[in-house]
Amino acid sequence: MTTAEIQKAILDILASIAPDEDLSKLDPQVPFRDQMELDSMDFLDIVMELRKRYRVQIPEEDYPALASMNSSVEYLLPRMKDISA
């Protein structure tokens, strides 16, 4: 998957977790939690959906890497490069 494809994948997941949020103005550099209502259970949903949809395994110590869109893409890019969108 490319950077753009991973971004779209994350946005799709966020849209399913937080369907009331307007994600069009999401700042990729700012942590998700500072821009939308996301608690720890929502965050676990992101991890679970990545596992379910793309079979990506994210160990707990790496969770901070999923804080923002940019950090997520940076973390996921090498791990999802062989997955087709």
Binding site: S16, I17, A18, P19, D20, E21, E37, M41, L44, D45, M48, R51, K52
Partner: protein, 414 residues
Amino acid sequence: MIAPHPDCQRIVITGVGLTAPNGNSLKELRESLLAGRSGVTRFETRYFGETVAGVCQFDELRYQTRKVLRRGTRAGSVGIYCANEAIRDAGLDWENVDKSAVGIYVGVTEHGNVETEQEIHQLKQYGYDIQFWSHHHNPRTVANNPAGEISLNLGITGPHYTLGAACAAGNAGIIQGAQMLRLGECDLAICGGVSESIHTFGIFASFHSQGALARHEDPTKASRPFDADRNGIVVAEGGCLFILERLSDARSRGARIYGEVVGYAMNSDAYDYVLPHPERQAECIETALRRAGLEPADIDIVSTHATGTTSGDVQECLALRRVFGDDGRTLFNNTKSFIGHAMGAAGALELAGNLPSFDDRVCHATINLDRPDPECSLKGLVANQPRELPKVDTILNNSFGMLGINSVVIVRRV
């Protein structure tokens, strides 16, 4: 002798919020009951296939965001809708109500089956690899979930819990609310019952295996208590929560009062897992009457529990004839014939459906009574068409459940 309690110990109903398969408010439910309108439809469920069920169509997003709706359970959503509607109906100045003095007591027949079945179904898609099991499973399946979701939604910090009481649960919730008000554990009780049971295939499959699941070409004819051609239960979802207050509090705020909970009782058959016991049912009714200081002849309407099973309806009629005789003084009706068996919500919904009779003096019927079963003979049974009465002062509501749990609530016009 009626209600020998001071006003601060007399418990009254001041609000009703409900969703039923044939109405999403008391007004709509009442209109459907008087018009003979069923809420039973065709329904398809996982593994089991096509069947019939009572399905609710309330606006889930009236009191919940889509995100919270996704996070919670159907039972929680039903409860949130009913609680908010009840508060609104009671005319409470909710912003200024002390939320720590509000108690939430929600009857449930079962809870957790829907979510557990759903999780296992999803897990199957992942080869039963347990790492795909949801972190939402526990908060969704803890037994207090439906009451807890109401607490979260409304910011209520008083006690909340569910009462697992099989199909007697709706009455059990009301009784718990009344008791907690009398004990001073809360100043306002949100109580009754909820059901999400149509979303678990297991309940259909289990009743089917037991030979107790209704079937009929016309879904609206499937629920037919007391009829010779009845063949089982129509499972329904729904909810009904009441606002209960002390009479003194209700009067001081000028609240509209639907009726007073003047008597109640619960007991156990100690007899069988599924078969009812008419003697214990009769004793439960008699205990409630005694506590209310009433004679059987003082009851104008009995809201029967009958579910449309072959033996259960006969057993309840034995109990009713023992207590009320057969002089036709007291009328009997059955709300399940319209909406099916709403399980944990049944007792509360069936009481609610009758409450307007205090004002309109009409006893709604039991419908689909085409060939009355002689073994279910009740002289005062209101068949197919509603009946007008000169007055309605007292309603007695039966609700019985598996493992031999019986409950009776008596409400009197104030």
